[in-house]
């Protein structure tokens, strides 16, 4: 092995170690679980941490204030529901019956979300007839 090769191997090793550490640290910061509403309600271990909830917006008790940019609604799973309080831009496709993803954590029995995304069928979807979404 020449000295140049050795230098490259050492540099590569240092680089790999650095990237592995960055990735590890990034995972700790950036990993978020996707949880269906029912499972979230049932699993108390999830209540203290930041998660992404998927569910459907209930038509009852839906309060949207576009002026103050807040929305409060019940997020429905197949069997259970959780009250969500969201603050931020209300997406264009948000309405009762919409499938949404919210991200945040539970505080005093209310899920406080700072991310609200409406899901819409992709343009590359097989289920003909649904609206497409660019992607």
């Amino acid at each position: 092995m020449t000295s140049v090769h050795r230098k490259f191997l050492i540099a590569g090793g240092v680089l790999l170690a650095a990237v592995a550490y960055l990735a590890y640290a990034g995972m700790r910061k950036g990993w978020v679980y996707y949880v269906p509403v029912d499972q979230f309600v049932a699993d108390a271990r999830l209540h203290g941490q930041r998660v992404r909830l998927m569910g459907r917006v209930s038509g009852d008790n839906l309060q949207v204030d576009g002026g103050a940019m807040t929305a409060q609604f019940d997020l429905l799973g197949p069997a259970r529901k959780v009250r969500v309080k969201y603050r931020g831009v209300i997406p264009d496709l948000f309405k009762a019956g919409a499938d949404v993803v919210v991200e945040g954590r539970l505080r005093d029995g209310v899920f406080e979300a700072d991310v609200l995304m409406t899901k819409c069928a992709s343009k590359y979807d097989d289920s003909h007839g649904r609206r497409e979404m660019p992607g």
Binding site: G26, G30, W31, Y33, V35, G67, V89, D92, C120, M133
Partner: protein
């Protein structure tokens, strides 16, 4: 004849032409048949012609609103403007696959007509690879219902369902064809490389065609990704341009590998080194295009876009595995041809630095791919999922449920690596090949380093102390000084020897080496791009304000007043427009009018952002919504510094890429002396290098 029948006939003819061509390739390889060789060569443009007819059939149906074709009924309506009807060709899955197939066949046909030398076996094998790719698409478009654009409905509806309003935007119209053009170009380097390897032609592995097609692929992909980012910025209204969504990541993967490839291919051409790296990058870029398609169309990854679980994904997965296995087998079989011709003499030369940047870019590719695919891997492979709680803060979840890494992951891992690549890019112009490189670098680094330090000092004096900003300033200062210094030396030398004015000499210097100076223009664009990313992500601000008509509020450096709120009716939507006046402390005023549009047909609401761009910052206003009584109106006001530099940088990169691809324009005896015969005939001597070695 109906459009559907014509389209399906054309697709069948394309498949037939692929089959004939493949038989020709086999005959040429086994029996040395010249007729087989001819059949293989000319089947490629014939496939393109057939697919052109298929595209025209679909386009004709779209313009005629032929709703008996399911695809046309789902993506257009009678009231849609003709331009958008035509653009609906790539609004949905089936049409976009047809477009991709057509573009791939176009690139392949162009190569077969322009570069194919008769009786060269490696060209025949390359043609065979392209024909196999063509056959895959033809089968998909003909026989898979969810990918077939010409599936008819038993009864044509009176009107179609219309095109998603979000797609009715010029940037979105141009974005998919650019991406597909890039994807199409990636097939060529792969085919040429595999052809040369299989035929045992070590001298044809990385010739000019490989470099040019790779460069073209990189260029189209760059334009496509930037258009997508621009569209997201002006249309989606969240104030950003990149969200690390799986869809975006998918298109970034082949971009990263092709960026590495366009650099390291040059090293192979000039020094006969980095052959294995190039082979992996070329095969990998193509495979990553297929992977990108698989990610976006299989529903394997949870995304905001919530992809449907389409069966087409399975076909692309099979295609991906076959492509990896096939090209991998050829690479292993012909590994002797991929041995380096020269030992690596120093870390500090061009070859070493290109190897390092290639490694970094490949690592970035792996990180982005891992982040994007991790949820799917964890779901399919439970041991990986069980490991997750051990390394994440989300340990309490006990591994339950699916998850994903968000932007913080990518920002903290990929961006530092990107900055490191840009650091290597910055010293590029002062690097040279060979054993003397380290000494030369030491001698020539002082001036650019001074430029970098000056840039840091300037930024600190201006009051910006963020470490990332200072690192970017160092890279920018270093890179700019190195580039300008190098260029100025070449120009003065040219002016001295060739006579003429400085401008003429500068033009001749650029024209004598498009590759070098086009590349430096791309690097300049990268620096502008970096400035945009750094400015907007480090110093961006977001304000939320609620206003009633006639009232004003203090927002950041402005007083913002809601002048009026008015309704405007348009052909297919009604808009509510808010007129805002921004007054800054110096009393300067600007007026911005964001809108919300209500589309009658779809019942969809979209926001129209009001944007004022300057070189310093963008003011980006979104009408977020109104209170139930309609009096208080909510606005989001983003101040995004330096975003305009992103788009200017993108334009510069595009321009640089075009310069790289153009043949020399000026002719003079002095210039022809500057081009000496390189290793494969394509390499050009570098005036800067000649000077250093002299």
């Amino acid at each position: 004849m109906t459009s559907a029948l014509l389209g399906n006939l054309a697709l069948s003819a394309a498949l037939l032409a692929c089959a004939v061509g493949i038989v020709g390739v086999v005959a040429a390889a086994r029996l040395r048949s010249t007729a087989g060789m001819r059949a293989a060569r000319w089947s490629l443009p014939v496939v393109w012609l057939c697919l052109t007819v298929a595209c025209l059939a679909l386009a004709g149906g779209l313009l005629d609103s032929d709703f008996s074709i399911s695809y046309i009924a789902r993506y257009t309506e009678r009231a849609l403007p003709a331009g958008y009807k035509l653009a609906a060709l790539w609004a949905g899955q089936e049409g976009s696959l047809l477009l991709w197939a057509w573009l791939t066949a176009g690139a392949a046909g162009l190569w077969a007509v322009s570069s194919w030398r008769s009786n060269e076996l490696h060209h025949a094998v390359a043609g065979g690879v392209l024909l196999l790719i063509g056959a895959f698409f033809a089968v998909l478009l003909l026989y898979v219902p969810t990918a077939s654009p010409f599936t008819t409905l038993p009864e044509a509806p009176a009107d179609g369902q219309g095109l998603n309003p979000l797609l009715q935007d010029p940037a979105m119209i141009a974005h998919p064809p650019m991406l597909f053009m890039g994807y199409a170009c990636f097939a060529l380097p792969l085919a040429i490389l595999l052809g040369a390897l299989a035929a045992g032609r070590g001298d044809e592995l990385c010739g000019e065609p490989v470099r040019r097609w790779m460069l073209a692929a990189w260029l189209f992909l760059t334009v496509g990704i930037l258009l997508g980012a621009w569209w997201a910025y002006i249309e989606l209204g969240w104030g950003g341009y990149w969200a690390w969504d799986p869809v975006e990541n998918a298109s970034l993967l082949p971009w990263l590998t092709s960026t590495a490839a366009v650099h390291s291919i040059g090293v192979q051409q000039q020094r006969g080194m980095l052959k294995r790296l190039n082979a992996v990058l070329i095969c990998g870029s193509f495979a990553l295009c297929i992977l990108a398609t698989f990610i976006t169309r299989s529903g394997i990854v949870q995304s905001v876009h919530s992809f449907g679980r389409s069966t087409v994904g399975t076909f692309f997965l099979v295609f991906l595995l076959l492509a990896i296995a096939g090209s991998g087998a050829v690479l292993v079989w012909r590994r002797k041809l991929l041995r380096s011709e020269a030992p690596l003499e120093t870390v500090w030369g061009r070859e070493g630095m290109f190897l390092a940047s290639g490694a970094l870019l490949m690592l970035m590719t792996c990180v982005v791919a891992a982040g994007t695919l991790l949820p799917a891997i964890a779901a399919i492979f439970p041991p990986a999922g069980a490991l997750l709680p051990a390394i994440t803060d989300a340990a309490a979840a006990g591994g339950s449920g699916q998850g994903a890494v968000g932007p913080p992951f990518y920002n903290s891992v990929v961006l530092p690596m990107g900055l490191a690549v840009l650091g290597l890019m910055a010293i590029g112009p002062i690097l040279q090949y060979g054993a003397g490189a380290a000494a030369a670098l030491k001698k020539r680094l002082a001036v650019p380093l001074g430029g970098g330090v000056l840039a840091i000092i300037a930024l600190m004096v201006a009051g910006f102390g963020n470490l990332w900003a200072l690192a970017c300033a160092l890279v920018a200062g270093l890179s700019l000084t190195a580039t300008v210094w190098d260029f100025a030396r070449s120009v003065t030398q040219r002016a001295r020897t060739g006579g003429g004015g400085a401008v003429g000499a500068a033009l001749r210097v650029i024209d004598s080496n498009h590759r070098r100076y086009g590349g430096q223009l791309v690097h300049l664009g990268m620096l502008m791009f970096m400035a945009g990313v750094a400015g907007s992500s480090l110093y961006g601000r977001k304000h939320e304000v609620s206003l009633e008509q006639g009232r004003s509020a203090d927002v950041g450096q402005w007083t913002v007043k809601l002048e009026t709120l008015r309704e405007k009716r348009h052909a297919n939507y009604t808009a509510v427009e808010a007129v805002l006046t921004f007054t800054d402390r110096a009393g300067r005023q600007m007026r911005l009018s964001p809108e919300r549009r209500f589309y009658e047909k779809s019942g969809q609401v979209t926001s129209e952002v009001a944007l004022r761009s300057t070189l310093v910052a963008d003011t980006y206003v979104l009408l977020a919504g109104a209170a139930a009584d309609g009096r208080a109106v909510g606005f989001h006001i983003f101040v995004n510094p330096l975003v305009l530099w992103l788009w200017l940088g993108g334009l510069t990169m595009t321009l640089g890429g075009i310069v790289c691809l153009l043949p020399p324009v000026l002719r003079s005896t002095a210039d022809s002396e500057g081009i000496s015969g390189g290793r494969t005939g394509g390499a050009q001597a570098d005036p800067a290098e000649q000077r250093v070695s002299a």
